[in-house]
């Protein structure tokens, strides 16, 4: 087997939001950085919004204030190690990168003062902090009737159920269906987004929709409004329909999530960082003091040894395979073999019989110190869903933790390098 060796200042493992943010910010800080990942992360699955805190457990309207309270109540939560200020700074950085990014005119809106209240594809109302402008028009804090538009060709979005549930919540909502001609019955959101990229197709779509609309309605569409130029597609539709238009996230694949991935990848590359997808980190080489000296990754049929002075572990939780529960009921971190915390042991209760409930296995992650450094490996910083202490899918805190801890990981590594250089 061919073997080669590459040297970097920092190696980031994982290319979800946390890994890409850490990589981009490390590169911007002057580090030679490489992001290694087995595949893409949660961006392609999640709605593409940045949720800082949606439920605690009551619905959160002011995420900044609520995070402060959460930090006081749960010192084991990742936010308690990061702090509210750092979250705000990270959100600003991200919003700035979206504006400077490869999608012309596309931007994110919102901040820690107020959550948006956005409809979901089933018609629940979901709090979210920093959101694409293409979704912000759906904010249900502002009143007025909404019209949800669907098409039977998209099985991952059901407009009529969405509108009916919004109506149950007291929102004036109705739905209409638009016929879309397709060559193949199975369409996903990405396939439709590519159609919306096409101006002629879009114009035909809009002229089909216009006669179905009434009065001053806002128009909610599945989040398929373009993959290459979403701002252009969205504003074009607003013009053609002469109404506010907003996107509603669908089942995966997530088009807005892929846009966020493109933004972060561009930020990483622009700053000189590298991204190697399809490269699975198999093991770590540890020094006697526990530090990770190098990682071995497998890509394209060969092993590569990546040597670096610092590492960021951003491989996610159970959903991404960063943490794994074996059939021996022991929980392990899969890439570097680090210690985990928060996991019930063999013989202890792992889950409870009620689905919608606090599950003992929920808050598992890689054991870290107050600087997010992995226990026993002081040159490894942990970011994102690999951190213990949160239940991000129920709190709606996933991207908030990812962006803020990715940023924090970068600054920890950079200051460590600076201290090393000074010494």
């Amino acid at each position: 087997m061919m073997r080669s060796e590459l040297h970097f200042d920092a190696v980031v493992v994982g290319a979800g939001v946390a890994g890409l943010v850490a990589g981009a910010r490390l590169a911007e800080g002057g580090a030679r950085v490489c992001v290694l990942a087995k595949g893409v992360g949660s961006t392609h699955l999640a709605p593409g919004t940045v949720d800082v805190l949606g439920y605690a457990p009551e619905r959160v309207d002011e995420p900044g204030r609520a995070v402060g309270e959460l930090i006081a109540a749960r010192p084991d939560h990742p936010y308690a190690l990061i702090g509210v200020e750092a979250i705000g700074e990270a959100l600003s950085w991200l919003a700035e990168r979206v504006v400077r990014g490869p999608l012309p005119g596309y931007r994110y809106v919102g901040g820690l003062e107020r959550n948006h209240l956005l409809p979901t594809a089933i018609g629940a109302v979901r709090p979210s902090t920093l959101v694409p402008e293409t979704m912000a028009g759906g904010d249900l804090r502002s009143g007025g009737p909404v019209c949800i538009v669907g098409s039977p060709v998209l099985r991952d979005f059901h407009a009529s159920l969405c509108a009916a549930n919004l109506a149950r919540a007291g929102i004036e909502a109705r739905s209409v269906a638009v016929a879309i001609e397709v060559e193949r019955a199975d369409q996903n959101s990405l396939g439709l987004a590519r159609r919306f990229d096409d101006a002629d197709w879009r114009s035909a779509f809009a002229s089909q929709l216009v006669p179905l609309l009434q009065g001053e309605e806002r128009v909610g569409l599945p989040a398929v409004l373009g993959s290459k130029d979403p701002h252009g597609v969205w504003s074009d539709l607003e013009d053609r329909l002469a109404r506010r238009v907003f996107e509603i996230p669908t089942l995966p694949p997530s088009v807005p999530g892929m846009r966020l991935f493109e933004v972060l990848r561009a930020a990483l590359r622009e700053a000189g960082g590298r991204l190697v997808l399809g490269s699975e980190v198999l093991a770590a080489e540890r020094a006697d003091d526990g530090r990770v000296v190098a990682v071995r990754a497998h890509a394209s049929g060969r092993d590569v040894r990546y040597v670096a002075s610092s590492f960021v572990l951003a491989t996610g939780g159970f959903a991404s395979g960063g943490v794994e529960l074996g059939s021996d009921w022991i929980t392990r971190e899969t890439a570097l073999g680090l210690a985990v915390s928060g996991a019930p042991g063999p013989g202890e209760e792992r889950f409870v019989a009620e689905y919608v409930a606090e599950q003992p296995m929920a808050r598992v992650g890689v054991a870290v110190d107050a600087q997010l450094r992995a226990e026993g490996a002081e040159n490894v910083v942990v970011a994102g869903a690999a951190l213990p202490g949160a239940v991000p899918w129920r709190e709606l805190s996933g991207e908030g933790i990812a962006v803020a801890s990715g940023s924090r990981a970068a600054s920890t590594v950079l200051s460590r390098a600076a201290a090393g250089a000074a010494a």
Binding site: S42, L45, A46, P47, D51, G54, Y55, R59, T120, A121, I122, G123, A124, V125, R126, V153, R155, D156, F157, H158, S160, L161, A164, N165, A167, R168, A169, E183, R184, A185, D186, P249, T250, L251, P252, S254, G317, F318, A319, S320, G321, E324, L325, G326, S327, W329, G347, R350, F351, V352, A353, E354, Y355, V356, M361, P392, W393, R394, L396, G398
Partner: protein, 518 residues
């Protein structure tokens, strides 16, 4: 209160009850089949899917073996479409008593179970994942049988002969007129409405719950001891042949390939409550260990779902002598006219799925005796709806059919390849608002993603049907999620936990179903 009348009222919509309804309908009786829940929601829908050759019982219970092989041959003809002819193997692993194999061969010969010894090398050649340490291997005519499909085809067959089926109707009282049972009162478990049924004969086919139904009729001493067993479905055909350990029957010694999964079973824990579905950690661990013995690497496959079924083990507390006191796994037919002096009432319980037809035949024979009528049984040769061609189910069939419509049919459940048209037609036909009922009919949400993608879609489609409100649709989704969770949480590990966490992200993170309007 509404009232109905029928010749034969059958209480219990498992394989036995549906078999009785089908048999009686074929003999020209008007039948009404009722169940407190959906058809085959009890023990029949909660077994491993094994169509016994009888091999399992040749040493321990030769009579059961004879019954099994006889019924196996009949069912292959009349229920062809519900059966996959996988064949079966009995293999001697290093953990098995090597002397048992010769007794097994002798037992097969004595009971008429077809059995052919093949070399271990040939067995491993045919089933490459089989433990290569096996010392002997025997081929037998085991197969798998889809119990949901079986029960539904019998129900449909009965309906085609004028019979009626009422699911979600629990018997709340059995009417007596002196020494005669005259019918029952049913309660719709969803609406609470009650209906009185007048029947010439009432059949108690409630399986593990038969003692309770007998109690309603004021019949004493019908004791059914529920024996709880767990089964785990693994997400692959780890073997394509039914594989049995060649030893005295015990726990965890069978792997049945059925549809796209393999099921390992089972255990036997006595319980007082037939609705007790507890899964013990120790049982799960034991099943996984047993799986490793037959198929090394078993634990590395995904465990998709665990469930428990309760065997109805009959004990006649009324019989006075030693010969019937033994708890028996054989079936028990109680003619209450003979046993208790109460006529027009028959109880059938015990037994195993493979012998349900025989049990139904004997039951309807008893019904005829009570009515003083002679009507011959026709279920031995009459093919069920869907099985007329006599062709067995093949695993590749659905893919083949699906490929023909790939471009113009939306797939709602990719794991189980369920097209939208079929889902909609089934929802309309059954009128059910319960997605778990649809799961049993179509296998919706039974694949590796356990409903992660298809259940939102199915909920949207359900809501699109006439008369289904958003509230009903939301309720159906939340109910499905809870029912699914019951069957997965005790065995969540490895990639299946990863999958479950992705589902968490979809249902909470993307859809926020926890905060639907209530």
């Amino acid at each position: 209160m509404a009232s109905l009348s029928t010749d034969v009222l059958v209480i219990g919509g498992g394989a036995t009850g549906a078999g009785v309804a089908w048999d009686a309908a074929l003999r020209g009786f008007e039948v009404l089949l009722v169940d407190r829940a959906d058809l085959s929601e009890g023990t029949s829908g909660r077994f491993h899917g094994l169509l016994h050759s009888g091999g399992r019982y040749v040493v321990k219970d030769p009579r059961a073996a004879e019954e099994c092989i006889g019924e196996n041959r009949i069912l292959r003809h009349v229920l062809a479409d519900c059966i996959e002819d996988t064949g079966g193997l009995f293999v001697t692993t290093p953990w098995d008593d090597p002397d048992y194999a010769d007794r097994f061969v002798e037992g097969c010969r004595a009971t008429g179970v077809d059995c052919e010894e093949i070399s271990p090398a040939q067995a491993v050649g045919e089933e490459p994942r089989l433990n290569p340490e096996i010392s002997r291997a025997f081929r037998v005519p085991d197969g798998n049988i889809d119990s949901w499909k079986t029960v539904w085809s019998m129900a449909r067959g009965a309906q085609e002969h004028g019979g009626r089926v009422m699911t979600y109707h629990a018997a709340v009282a059995i009417h007596r007129d002196g020494d005669e049972v005259t019918g029952a009162r049913l309660r719709d478990t969803r609406s609470g409405e009650e209906v009185d049924v007048e029947a010439r004969v009432t059949v108690n086919a409630a399986g593990a719950w038969a003692g309770r139904v007998a109690d309603l009729a004021g019949i004493e001493g019908v004791r059914v001891l529920p024996g709880r067993g767990i089964m785990i479905a693994m997400n692959h055909r780890l073997v394509n042949t039914v594989v049995n350990r060649c030893q005295m029957p015990t726990d965890g010694d069978i792997i049945v390939p059925i549809r796209t999964v393999s099921v390992i079973g089972t255990t036997d824990q006595h319980t007082d409550d037939p609705d007790d579905h507890t899964v013990l950690q120790a049982e799960v661990d034991a099943m996984l260990d047993d799986g490793e013995k037959l198929v090394p690497g078993f634990r590395r496959a995904r465990a998709l779902r665990v469930w428990t079924g309760v065997r109805p083990l009959f004990e006649d507390a009324k019989a006075d002598s030693t010969d019937t006191r033994d708890v028996t796994r054989a079936h028990a037919l109680l003619d209450h006219r003979e046993r208790d002096g109460v006529s027009r009432f028959v109880t059938i319980t015990g037994g195993k799925l493979t012998t349900f037809r025989l049990m139904a035949e004997e039951t309807v024979d008893a019904v005829c005796r009570q009515l003083g009528e002679e009507r011959p049984c026709a279920t031995k040769t009459t093919q069920l709806p869907g099985s007329e061609s006599g062709r067995h189910y093949r695993l590749g069939e659905r893919l083949e059919r699906k490929e023909q419509h790939l471009r113009d049919e939306q797939l709602i459940c990719e794991c189980e390849m369920i097209p939208r048209s079929k889902l909609e037609a089934t929802m309309r036909r059954t009128g059910t608002m319960n997605l778990d009922d649809i799961r049993r009919l179509l296998r919706l949400g039974m694949g590796p993603c356990q409903g992660g993608f298809c259940i939102y879609r199915a909920t949207g489609i359900l809501h699109g049907l006439d008369g289904i409100s958003a509230e009903d649709a939301d309720g159906a989704l939340l109910h499905f999620l809870q029912e699914r969770w019951k069957g997965v949480w005790p065995i969540l590990y490895g990639d299946q936990l990863r999958q479950a966490r992705l589902d968490d992200w979809i249902f909470h993170g993307v859809l926020d179903v926890e905060h639907l309007p209530s």
